[in-house]
Symmetry: C2
Subunit: 360 residues, 2 copies
DNA sequence: GCGCTCCACTAGAGCGCGCTAGGGCGACAA
DNA sequence: TTGTCGCCCTAGCGCGCTCTAGTGGAGCGC
């Protein structure tokens, strides 16, 4: 295995070892090449590729044809350097989160429509948000979109002084960060009203810990239970937004022997972990216990899961995130805004009327 | 929708975007600014940030301190433009794949060690690989690492003429693409020998369809079964690398009434889908059927899943992918290489001796 | 004829950095 | 003193592009 590190400065012999093809690793074609081929100035080629007025239709066509022939594509680095805008949005996500995956997919489509590109940077256990954001900054993104950021408000406050920031799913009151999220209160009410409507009274909440939206969901759960006159049944089980915490909660409930008739989980991952563990223990869902999640991740709709859940509008969240970012670029002095999207209850197979042996 | 929260910035002044503060969205600091602050030339600051010899320790320290003060960080676009190398590796991944998430996390660490940065571009149902790769190219990545690419060999063949390409998990014989993968043959033998060793003979394979490595796994399954004199028991169930296909396979098996004593799945996702569906149908794992997966994704090790699986060394794959890419940059004329990593059998709770009522 | 506007196009100055050819200077030998 | 080596450091070009200012020519009204 390669043990040699040739650190030649300047690259040594520039001679392309291969043939003299249009672009054999040697040098990538530039605007100059296209211009020369068509017989116009470089500036005009630039005009064509930026899609601004200033070139006749026939010239435009010839330029594009020549570019295609030699395999030219604009160099983003040079474009970024020359213009004040890079037309790139930086997105920080948690790679292990499939809901983030949904958001990213939708954001690609949204960004493309307004002529923007996305650069992804991952937050992970071994890679702090600060580092992920740093990488994005280095790429000179015009704006950052942070998906469920777990950074401190202080860090964001500094960050937003350097670049527009949109946070998806987590609010940062008191900072200039723009916010996109789901109407958590209404979402929780949708979930609880569904359970209450089918006769449940003993409804517990599986908490989301430090996850995005957890605080709001917990509070809304408490509020709704109180409003329904069920303050005595309020029960928040510790957890976070992972499958493991759902499974743990299930085991804990079983060990305590105090299984509620319904559980409202702070997100789908923990709900699925709970579902799996409780099912294995012989507790039937929904006959013995109803379960409701949050997010509507792809897994939730699978035939064997059929999780009832509160759907977050990932496409809508993505659209708003991109929109807010672009608007902020155009008008930096705008006050911080927040865009709140409507949730939707997706009733599937994990909820039903409570078991008969319970009364209180 | 969306309420506006107007937050006056401390200090009374209404945040004028064009003020002359250290760095209020106006202009990001440059090397020039750092140089001026320290009282040295710009070139010397460059030396410090590139980490090359040529600056005294004390100067180095003062430069870094000044940079930190004014929040300077090198502009990747300018750096890329000026040098022939961008020191950026482009990674294409499937954003919904958690094994890819593991790989990406490990690659970040590897790349950082050799002074490289990663740019992620997602392949998704609505975003073809070609587009994802195009975006990477626009960012002028030095090399591309494609995770389980589902592109045509022809496309890759053209691509590799423009930029070094490393494929992880999928082989492209006959092209100049460098390959990193797990020794599929040995991996499959590990899995099957484990099952054979505990007495299983009726072992089916849940196929991976078009997924990375599927072809090799299917062939190795057939080979091993034949070698064990079990050609009559060879049974490949159609599927792909998703949970849904595993669940479907379970339902199909139950409907047919021909449940094998063991199933070797082409990846963990389909294994988990199968596990969930078959468990719900009342079939016990591992008492009634043993199950073994492939990859060892994070979910597999969770308390309530405990999936026996063949572990792919994600850290090793990541390391090799980065190494091959960098080596190729240093020596473009190297012949195509492939790096094959050893798999490891992880025995957890889904495998055991076959049920007693079966004999043949 | 003149002045004017409009359109297609060009010239050339940077954007922030990497990189090479040197300049300045202290140390040491002759 | 004069070299001469070595270390820190500086000057300045150019990467591929955007963008402002400007050029030339056709068309129009007077």
């Amino acid at each position: 295995m390669g043990g040699d590190h040739v650190k030649g400065r300047g690259g040594g012999a520039d001679g392309t070892p291969e043939s003299a093809e249009p672009s054999p690793n040697g040098r990538r074609p530039t605007m100059e090449d296209v211009a020369a081929r068509v017989g116009v100035s470089r500036a005009l080629v630039s005009v064509v590729f930026r899609g601004v007025p200033g070139a006749s239709a026939s010239t435009r066509e010839r330029v594009l044809a020549a570019a295609a022939e030699i395999g030219y594509r604009p160099d983003l680095a040079a474009r970024t350097l020359a213009s004040s805008r890079s037309r790139v949005l930086g997105v920080m996500l948690t790679v292990h989160n499939t809901f983030h995956a949904d958001l990213v997919e939708a954001m690609y489509a949204e960004a493309e429509q307004v002529g923007y590109d996305l650069v992804l940077s991952a937050h992970a256990p071994t890679r702090h948000s600060e580092k992920a954001v740093g990488a994005l900054l280095g790429h000179r993104c015009d704006a950052l979109v942070l998906l469920g950021p777990e950074t401190s408000a202080g860090f964001l406050e500094e960050l937003v002084e350097r670049v527009p920031v949109v946070s998806v799913g987590r609010r940062f009151p008191g900072t200039r960060v723009d916010i996109v999220n789901t109407a958590e209160g209404r979402a929780v009410r949708l979930a609880l009203d569904h359970l209450l409507g089918t006769g449940h009274r003993d409804i517990a909440h599986l908490d989301g810990g430090g996850g995005a939206g957890s605080v709001e969901r917990r509070r809304a759960y408490r509020d709704r239970m109180r409003a329904a006159g069920l303050a005595d049944h309020i029960r928040v089980l510790p957890g976070d937004h992972t499958e493991a915490s759902g499974a743990e909660a299930a085991h804990r409930l079983l060990a305590e022997g105090r299984v509620p008739t319904a559980l409202f989980a702070s997100n789908d991952r923990s709900a699925i972990g709970f579902l799996d563990a409780i099912t294995r223990a012989g507790v039937r869902v929904p006959q013995d216990i109803s379960l409701i999640g949050y997010d509507d991740i792809p897994l939730a709709g699978l035939a064997h899961i059929q999780l009832t859940t509160v759907r977050q509008d990932s496409v809508g969240l993505a659209r708003e995130a991109v929109r807010l970012a672009i608007e902020r670029l155009d008008r930096p002095s705008l006050p911080p805004r927040s865009s709140v999207l409507e949730p939707e209850l997706i009733v599937r197979g994990t909820t039903a009327a409570p078991r008969a042996d319970v009364d209180d």
